[in-house]
């Protein structure tokens, strides 16, 4: 016990004095919260700019533009009629543009006369790699549906009621905070541990430690305890900042506090397991990045896993961070203790497997 305590104190002093540790433990999650919070929750004009070239200029085309404006999703800008739209898009690097053809009014009249067997067309130019394209397409679709109703004198009979947030999540930050905590727990434990293993091997600290009475599992327990304490402090700080800055509704439940040491356990053990293969800090950074970055993006920290293609969802299902993020969201946003405990169980089982493998495979000695 005293050896573990000594290692926690000795290592803790080094960690807290190194600026890198303090940055990733405390400043990094706060930066993420403030940055993403400012992007997604601050007021400001969030409309998508949609340049429109109206070659028709008649009442139907003007009505279409007005209906698009009424959606509140787009801000219309005008492309001069004398410009060639393809050249204009290229010259101005436009990700979006809408072309209303010169015979649009005539096409509408013909469609009305043909009782819907013919149709009028507009053309949307959209770079589908950009998220704004979906918004613009939605605005155009809504405007077209509205115009169809107006022209056919029909009345809508079904509509959606006011938008309700699931659980306690009323704004983006309620959903984002657990993801940020997940990333913080992973980067601090996994990246730090694998990098630490590289440094300890390169500087022969493992050999030096092997000559003392400290054993490998004691060293690992010491790191788990240390990172649990640091990450709990990080969670409290990040939560306080999110509460103050964005008035989040997510709550700090007892299960959320239990999830932190469980996360430290699984990622410290995983980091040490990666450390088995590393010889120096450089190779440890490469290996940790190769594992950590895909996990960061595929585990639902930033994007919902349900939006991924099937094979990526299968990959996400084997990543410990997925269960950590899900568990934390389940308890902080949905108050769903049963689901949280299920995710916690998966994390603890994975952590135990990594811990045993790391203790067995890691050698402090020369082979």
């Amino acid at each position: 016990m005293s050896r573990i305590y000594s290692d926690i104190i000795g290592f803790g002093k080094q960690y807290l004095r190194s600026k890198v540790g303090a940055f990733f433990g405390f400043i990094f999650p706060i930066l993420l919260i403030l940055l993403f919070g400012a992007i997604f929750t601050a007021g400001g004009d969030q409309k998508v700019t949609l340049p429109v070239q109206n070659l028709d200029g008649g009442p139907y085309s003007l009505a279409l533009i007005e209906n698009m404006t009424l959606t509140g999703l787009v801000k219309i800008e005008t492309i001069p009629a004398e410009e060639n739209i393809d050249d204009y898009i290229n010259e101005h690097s436009l990700p979006l543009a809408l072309l209303i053809p010169s015979d649009f009014g005539m096409q509408v009249e013909q469609a009305i006369a043909a009782n819907g067997t013919d149709m009028a067309f507009v053309t949307l130019y959209a770079d589908m790699s950009q998220s704004t394209s979906g918004t613009a397409a939605t605005a155009v679709e809504i405007a077209i549906v509205s115009m169809n109703f107006q022209i056919s004198n029909a009345k809508p009979v079904i509509t959606m009621g006011p938008l309700q947030s699931p659980g306690k999540g009323e704004n983006f930050m309620d959903f984002f905070l657990p993801g940020v905590v997940g990333i913080t727990v992973m980067t601090n434990s996994l990246f730090s541990m694998s990098s630490l293993c590289g440094e300890y091997r390169q500087r022969s600290y493992f050999k030096l430690l092997a000559t003392t009475k400290l054993r490998k599992h004691e060293w690992l327990i010491s790191k788990f305890v240390f990172y649990s304490v640091i990450l709990l402090a990080s969670l409290l700080t990040t939560f306080a900042v999110a509460k103050l800055a964005f008035d989040i509704n997510a709550t700090l439940t007892p299960l959320a506090l239990i999830m932190i040491p469980a996360g430290a356990f699984v990622f410290v053990s995983m980091g040490m397991l990666l450390g088995v293969a590393v010889k120096d800090p450089e190779s440890s950074v490469a290996i940790a990045n190769a594992i950590g970055f895909p996990m960061m993006f595929l585990s639902g920290s930033f994007f919902p896993i349900s939006s991924f293609p099937g094979f990526l969802q299968a990959v996400a299902a084997v990543m410990p961070l997925t269960y950590f993020n899900n568990g934390l969201r389940d308890t902080m946003v949905y108050d769903n203790s049963v689901s949280t405990l299920a995710n916690l169980g998966v994390i603890l089982v994975l952590g135990a497997v990594f811990f045993v493998l790391a203790s067995k495979l890691m050698s402090w000695k020369e082979r």
């Binding site: 000594s6 000795g10 080094q14 003392t212």
Partner: protein
């Protein structure tokens, strides 16, 4: 312990595939309280040998016993009794020397008071730097801190693997003094080095290791007596022509950095050599005698000089 023997090594071998023999049948023993030096160039097998004794590598064959315990079978009874300064030791960057000592003592289940820490820092002359962050210490101070760490558990046997490599002459002399003081308190010291003067000055017993084998062992004086002659007449700046002329007169001589060296065993041989030399017309800057050193023995045994651990033709 068998008859005061602390370390007993017999036919120790360490081989790496396909056919590298890092240690090739090494045998030696170290008595309690001795400073034992393993001397040899880089790659001779010194660190491999010492790391087997520290429990950090497994031998391919042979036996090594410390305090009469087999290092392969069970190292735990030994661990408490040894201190280790590894080659190229680097302290923990962000810890102050006193914190590093407190931390290291804790890893041996030992609680050290500030008084004990101060005493230890005094031994290695680091008291004035006790509150400096370790990464700001000089190379010599870092080595001193490493020695202090290796002493924190009051070891009976201390392994110092090239403790003065890369240090300036003053720092080297400081560490030599420190090793002497540690030895005077009864601690057995196993010192590996490639500095011949270090081994000669510090060691009670020396083993010269070359290509994994011990080529000579004994006290420095015994080695000089056995493998060399006691005195060397130095014809400073005499040059290669003079060497040939000296040899033509039947005098055994070697050349080193433009000097001609004539080894002599005793005063009668020295008189004979001087008589022969007086009949030769050679230009010298200076002529003097000096005691033969381990360096001369090494040159004679290995056939090369050694500079910073590298053999020179």
């Amino acid at each position: 312990m068998v008859g005061g023997v602390v370390v007993e090594v017999s036919e120790l071998r360490k081989e790496y595939p396909p056919d590298i023999k890092a240690v090739d049948g090494v045998s030696f023993s170290i008595k309690a309280g001795q400073i034992f030096s393993m001397l040899g160039p880089n790659g001779a097998g010194k660190t491999t040998t010492v790391e087997i004794l520290e429990g950090l590598r497994s031998p391919t064959s042979g036996t090594a016993r410390i305090f009469d315990v087999d290092v392969v079978k069970d190292y735990s009874p030994i661990r408490d009794k040894i201190g280790v300064l590894p080659q190229n030791f680097e302290p923990f960057d962000e810890l102050k020397p006193w914190e590093a000592l407190e931390y290291w003592a804790g890893l041996y289940d030992k609680k050290v008071s500030r008084k004990e820490i101060n005493a230890l820092l005094d031994v290695v002359s680091l008291s004035e730097r006790m509150n400096s962050i370790s990464k700001k210490l000089s190379g010599g101070e870092k080595k001193k801190l490493g020695i202090a760490l290796s002493l924190v558990n009051d070891p009976e046997l201390l392994f110092l693997d090239e403790p003065t490599t890369g240090l300036d002459p003053k720092a080297r002399r400081d560490i030599w003094h420190m090793i002497h003081e540690i030895s005077k308190k009864g601690t057995t010291v196993f010192l590996t080095t490639h500095y011949l003067d270090e081994a000669e000055r510090l060691a009670d017993d020396v083993a010269i290791l070359h290509k994994g084998k011990i080529v000579a062992k004994g006290s420095p004086r015994e080695l000089i007596t056995r493998h060399g002659k006691m005195t060397v007449v130095v014809l400073s700046g005499a040059g290669h022509e003079a060497l040939l002329e000296v040899r033509r007169r039947g005098i055994e001589a070697t050349e080193e950095d433009g000097d001609v060296l004539v080894p002599v065993k005793d005063p009668s041989e020295m008189r004979a050599v001087f008589q022969k030399l007086s009949g030769i017309e050679i230009k010298v800057k200076d002529m003097y005698t000096r005691r033969q050193t381990l360096e001369d023995v090494f040159l004679g045994l290995i056939g090369s000089k050694m500079e910073e651990g590298v053999l020179k033709p």
